[in-house]
């Protein structure tokens, strides 16, 4: 198991998390993943990277700092994304609606910091 996969395993172990990924911000490609069946990692990676890139541009245009955490709240779950700026990677997690989001965010920020 690679170092990245070990790090992602910490996020995936949080209750309600269906999977975690490291995504190349510029390419929208999966670098490493730890996903449950039924999660299309390739699609999530491409769309999450696109979303993160657009939001980063939006906040820059508004004169704000780049977002530290993106949280997309959907009816049946959540998408969390944390940019690791120095490494140009995005830590992404897909969760169920009842997931422990606070712990998931903490683990994601920690992983992102470790990559920085």
């Amino acid at each position: 198991m690679s170092r990245y996969e070990t790090e992602l395993g910490r996020i995936s172990a949080v209750r309600g998390v269906r999977g975690a990924m490291l995504v190349s911000m510029a390419d929208g490609l999966v670098v490493a993943e730890s996903l449950m069946d039924g999660v299309d990692g390739r699609a999530v990676a491409a769309l999450a990277a696109s979303l993160a890139g657009r939001l980063a541009r939006t906040t820059a245009e508004a004169g704000l700092e780049a977002p530290r955490v993106l949280h997309l709240h959907a009816e049946r779950g959540n998408l969390l994304a944390v940019p690791a700026a120095a490494a140009e990677l995005l830590v992404v997690a897909v969760t169920q609606a009842d997931a422990n989001l606070g712990l998931a965010r903490l683990e994601m920020l920690d992983v992102a910091q470790g990559l920085g």
């Binding site: 190349s24 390419d27 929208g28 390739r42 699609a43």
Partner: protein, 153 residues
């Protein structure tokens, strides 16, 4: 966007809207253009079609030497633009797609919606019909009709 086959239009429009690709060329494996978006000169289309079909033919042969069925897609990433080249089977035979994209999108997004485009094209493609041979007296008329459809002139 211009197409020779009307059923190609809606899936291709959807792909262009979602992927934000700059240039798209759909052609048969022989290099005959089926649809194009983003080209302004017919000469560029002809050159790109011939080169794209040639590259796919070459990589398919390399895959065969490696006992592989074929490569799904070939991606060249430049500093400002990238290119995706992919061959795929349809009920109308083997087609090749060439997509040029810029920094406003990503290779992951282009690949994602490219796969969706291929699935949609395969689903809506009418079965191949036997076409009448192109006779010499009809050749120029048919060529002009194709050029008009692809370039509006």
């Amino acid at each position: 966007m211009r197409t020779l086959e009307p059923w190609v239009g809606p899936p291709l429009e959807h792909f262009l809207a979602e992927s934000e690709a700059r240039v798209v060329l759909l052609m048969t494996s022989a290099g005959q253009v089926v649809a194009q978006h983003g080209f302004t000169r017919s000469l560029d289309v002809m050159a790109a079609a011939a080169l794209g079909a040639g590259i796919v033919a070459s990589t398919t042969e390399v895959a065969r030497l490696m006992d592989q069925r074929g490569f799904g897609a070939l991606v060249h990433q430049g500093s400002e633009q990238g290119m995706l080249l992919s061959g795929f089977d349809t009920p109308r035979g083997r087609w090749v797609g060439l997509v040029v994209f810029g920094s406003e999108t990503s290779v992951g997004l282009v690949q994602l919606f490219w796969d969706e485009l291929v699935r949609e094209l395969v689903a809506v493609a009418p079965p191949e019909t036997t076409q009448a041979p192109v006779l010499a007296e009809n050749f120029e008329r048919e060529l002009n009709a194709s050029l008009h459809a692809l370039f509006g002139r």
